[in-house]
């Protein structure tokens, strides 16, 4: 028996509205791939407005986001997943190119107090400003517990931030964001602070990416960057909830997002091939498997909305969708003649883009560990009996 995740009327309306915005995104995709730092000609796309409305907490916006007669609560994982799949069908690089709060916003929502949230969202209010989420360090990969960037307390009011972050989305175009660093040696000493790119001692270098170039990865080097104490997130929370706890919750959300991007891109590739070769073998099978992945992603998002600590479902969705996205891209290339690589620049682009889903928010090996752990944890009570 298959359990189908049913979207209610409001989510179906959101799905329909975002699907209508996909074509416009696609028109801008190649230009952004060629020069992702020249975003001015692309900022007015309807999808960027939708993303902004659905990511900004209600009190910083004119009102709640609406689609037709439906009103939404911004910031839930499921609504983000619903538009992510549809917009990625337009182009995944464009989704990542959207200005706004992105991952950093999810963390600030979790760990920020009212003043910090106001400061952060205020800095992004113009709709043409990007934010960064500074976690990964060169040479460390996903080993968050081993991070080395240091946050040194200089006075009761001031900290100094020193260290290097690499492979950070919007790393060199973001104006504001969050940076994880340690104030001491224990796991609870890892904290996150709101940091501004204009601060003294803060330098960045863009990284030339293989694909998904709208994400604009960069390296951030910080040397004694002044961070006012009031910019440390989580001061109002218990010690256990100030740092990595928040990061884990962000990653559970973002893994579902990456899976959604993979599903949307995979569906776009299937349709691109079908348009050229309507009876192409394999298309129905792959489309059905992608729809199964869409179900996994919706289910994972709903699980995250029930409990932001739910790691298992979003890891399953991400591992499955990233692998399938890559498989679909190989099928697409093999199903068309070589000239398609030139005749359909989006085919060439998407074959590069899908590779990114492996690397973002934890590689498949990391997801496999989460999946196995969550499974074993879930069955433990039963195995006793």
């Amino acid at each position: 028996m298959v359990s189908v995740f049913e979207l209610d009327d409001s989510f179906r309306a959101l799905r329909g509205a975002s699907a209508e915005m996909a074509a416009e995104l696609r028109e801008h995709a190649l230009a952004v791939d060629a020069d992702p730092y020249d975003m001015k000609p692309h900022l007015d796309v309807a999808a960027f407005r939708l993303i902004r409305e659905f990511m900004i907490p209600r009190r910083f916006a004119g009102g709640p986001p609406r689609i037709g007669r439906h009103e939404f609560e911004p910031g839930t994982c499921l609504q983000g997943i619903v538009w992510s799949v549809e917009l990625a069908y337009g182009d995944p690089g464009m989704v990542l190119a959207a200005p706004g709060s992105s991952l950093a916003g999810v963390l600030v929502d979790q760990l920020g107090d009212a003043a910090q949230q106001e400061h952060f969202y205020g800095a992004l209010a113009d709709g043409a400003t990007w934010s960064f989420f500074g976690m990964t360090e060169p040479g460390r990969g996903n080993d968050a517990a081993g991070l080395e960037t240091a946050l040194r307390r200089e006075s009761p009011d001031l900290y100094r931030l020193t260290g290097t972050k690499k492979y950070i989305g919007n790393g060199s175009r973001g104006a504001i964001g969050v940076v994880f660093a340690r104030t001491g040696s224990g796991p609870l000493s890892i904290r996150a602070a709101i940091v501004e790119a204009g601060a003294p001692g803060f330098e960045t270098t863009p990284l030339d990416m293989v694909g998904l170039r709208g994400a604009c990865l960069g390296e951030m080097r910080m040397r004694d960057v002044p961070v006012p104490a009031e910019m440390l997130l989580g001061q109002h929370l218990p010690a256990t909830r100030r740092g990595l706890w928040g990061a884990v919750r962000v990653f559970n959300t973002m893994r579902a997002h990456v899976a959604a991007l993979a599903v949307g891109t995979g569906l776009a590739l299937v349709d691109l091939v079908r348009a050229e070769r309507p009876l192409v073998p394999g298309a129905d099978d792959l489309a059905a498997r992608l729809e199964a992945c869409r179900q996994l992603v919706y289910t994972a998002a709903a699980a995250v909305d029930r409990d932001r600590n739910a790691a298992g479902p979003s890891s399953v969705a991400k591992a499955a969708a990233a692998a399938l996205g890559h498989e679909v891209s190989r099928w697409a290339v093999r199903s068309l003649p070589p000239k398609a690589i030139v005749a359909h620049p989006l085919l060439e682009k998407w074959t590069r883009d899908v590779c990114s889903f492996e690397f973002m928010e934890g590689t498949t090996d990391i997801q496999r560990q989460h999946i196995a752990k969550a499974y074993l944890k879930g069955r433990r009570p039963h195995s006793k009996g």
Partner: protein, 180 residues
């Protein structure tokens, strides 16, 4: 720079490019781009000293037979170079105190690459070239993943694996139903 561009130069030596290029597209060493060809901007290929080009009027069969096998040899060399680089990286980094090269998931993937390389090398000479090249592409992707996020940065040598795939995707004939 890897052996990809010089290797491709050798594979194409003495070949009438316009008569061979499949349906008017080719990936060529930059120095070999013929007059009249239009270069299609491709950042990764350019970084490898190669160009993706359109050759108006060309309608060739692509690389077949010994030349397709020679291209596979070049790709195999690139793959081995990147694998060595990956192993050095994996040995030098650790997760939760254990070197990556000793993590079971990594050793399993490493074994898969070695197996894929052996399979690609063991195909009969007259086997369809596309099968050999697809194994190399798959093994190349597994090696790429060993580099983590570094494996997605264009100025890292690992880009040669993406370009190696592009070269095969353009030059190697696939199943005749595939619209060739």
């Amino acid at each position: 720079m890897t052996v990809l561009a010089p290797g491709l130069t050798d594979v194409l030596a003495g070949l009438d490019i316009a008569a061979t290029a499949p349906r008017g597209v080719a990936v060529l060493p930059v120095a070999e781009v013929p007059d009249g060809a239009q270069i299609v901007p491709n950042n990764l290929a350019a970084r490898e000293g190669l160009a993706l080009v359109r050759i108006p009027g060309a309608d060739g069969p692509g690389l077949v037979g010994a030349r397709a096998a020679a291209l596979a040899e070049v790709r195999l060399t690139v793959l081995r170079q990147m694998l060595e680089l990956a192993v050095a990286r994996l040995a030098g980094r650790s997760f939760a105190g254990v070197p990556l090269i000793d993590q079971q998931l990594v050793t399993g993937a490493l074994a898969d690459v070695v197996t894929g390389v052996e399979l690609a090398s063991s195909l009969a000479d007259d086997a369809p070239a596309a099968a050999r090249h697809e194994w190399l592409t798959e093994a190349g992707w597994t090696v790429t993943k060993f580099f983590g996020a570094e494996g997605y940065i264009a100025d890292h040598p690992v880009r040669s694996l993406y370009v190696s795939t592009l070269v095969a995707d353009v030059w190697i004939a696939r199943d005749p139903e595939g619209g060739w």
